[in-house]
Amino acid sequence: MSSVFPDLRPHFPALHQTVNGKPLVYLDNGATSHKPRAVIDALVRYYERDNSNVHRGLHALSMRSTDSFEAARARVAAFIHAQDQAEIVFVRGTTEAVNIVARGLGAQLKPGDVVLTTEMEHHSNLVPWQQVAKATGATLCYVPVLGADGEGGLDLAALDTLLTPQVKVFAFTHISNTLGTINPAAELCRRARAVGALTVIDAAQSIGHEPLDVQALGCDFLAFSGHKMCGPTGIGVLYGRRALLDAMAPDETGGGMVVSVDYQGARWKPSPERFEAGTPHVAGAVGLAAAMDYIDAVGRESIAAHDHELAAYARQRLAEIPGMRILGPTAGQPRAGIVSFALGDAHAHDVVTFADQDGIALRGGHHCNQPLMRKLGLPSTARASFYLYNTREEIDVLAASLLKIQKFFAG
């Protein structure tokens, strides 16, 4: 696959640097991706030409900014196949999106209700639900992760007993940021819908990596960030079915989201403005739309195939190293471009510091996934995560570095 996949590296300025005297090998894409020139140019163009506040101005620049902002919204709607651009709320990122949904739906929860999530959630799709459960008296339940190394994925058989009519919300990740597991999101949504539960998908790790269609998934809400998909930091999206968004109370109030205000109270605009109090991140939305154009020009099917191929190759190369414990799907099973591992007695932070000396950017820690790490009996792991500009040669550099580290700590 890599032989036919185009070399996109010239498009990414930040990749062309040395770190500790070695060419940068950037394998921390699960945390954030680098930005192509097209996205950087879109941000600069916006600030140099259109920059103005949106929605409230009647002058030329304000109208241009408003047009760019709303065009970005339409671009996002098309990217995920939303029916209506009013279903696209611009937020800071996945975390804010989940918080809006959790508190919005939380207002409708009561004791006896169940919020179902999974044992593989990022803290951003876990802690907001814990808070809502505490505030409302609802119960938080978890779909177990199977296997000593999490290789079995979600326990789909347990769903039959877990998905009771008391479940009002089922919130789950599309792709695990720790395990690299690709969850059967459409099936999970279908089964949740059968008991009347609303579904919330954390798409932070999937949005820029896999084809994604909210109609095909059948989800009620979907949350993602721009910065993991070639876009700017500080911009993300909450997608929600329009009727559900319009029935939800706003999380933040202020300017831009009200129809009318008097000294006694205010009335809210419908979605999306209802959830966008204050001046939005206009440049971020413009940059996000440019990122979506870039990704679609490459093709999400081929990006996914490239990611999966790199992950399979990394898994194979890392497995050759003595004492290596690799989390998530076994060889041959589908795996997103994420490989987390524990290297013998070497702690993840030592591994990451050593790899950094070879110019390799890895993630080390609990990956905002502390309960899962505890369940797997690991204080932390190191993680390599891949994207459209990574190559097999970079994985060879990683494997050589890890072998050196293994020998150092075993010696």
């Binding site: 007695d345 070497a346 702690h347 993840a348 932070h349 030592d350 510091t353 050593f354 000396q357 070879d358 080390g364 820690g365 609990h366 502390q370 790490m373 204080p379 932390s380 050196k404 150092f408 700590f409």
Partner: protein, 145 residues
């Protein structure tokens, strides 16, 4: 990797692999814990005081080689010392790991001077010391089982 081998030279690896005074101290009269939330490192320090002097000390927890070695080293540095002496030791240790200054005495600490080149890891090196100082500030009470 030469900078790193400086940092992880024999003393650190030795303390990491064969930690001194590791484990819960059943006779402890003071306990304090510290966390490094970015890493997930944690460290609990147990003290048994005799008057103002640290008669026994141990540590427990998990973390990287630097934090584990530093905890092990710390116990060897403060055992038998008064609270003031231990606090002074910490001040010197902290100065060495943040500035890279080579110490005049207690030579083993020289290995930790390399930490200063890796600012993200200074917290790893000081975690157990902070826990020990916290424990020293507490009143004596029997360890709860």
């Amino acid at each position: 990797m030469s900078d790193l081998t400086d940092l992880y030279q024999a003393v650190i690896l030795d303390h990491n692999k064969r930690p001194r005074n590791r484990g819960r101290l059943p006779t402890a009269t003071r306990v304090a814990s510290g966390d490094n939330p970015t890493c997930g490192d944690n460290c609990t320090v147990y003290l048994r005081m005799e008057g103002d002097r640290i008669a026994e000390i141990s540590f427990d927890g998990s973390g990287c080689a630097i934090s584990q070695a530093s905890a092990s080293f710390m116990t060897t540095q403060v055992k038998g010392r008064t609270a003031d002496e231990a606090t002074a030791r910490f001040a010197e240790f902290k100065d060495i790991v943040t500035t890279g200054r080579q110490p005049e005495d207690f030579s083993e600490v020289a290995a930790f001077a390399g930490v200063h080149a890796f600012p993200a890891r200074i917290k790893c090196a000081t975690l157990s010391w902070h826990a020990a100082i916290d424990a020293l500030k507490q009143p004596d009470q029997p360890l709860q089982s």
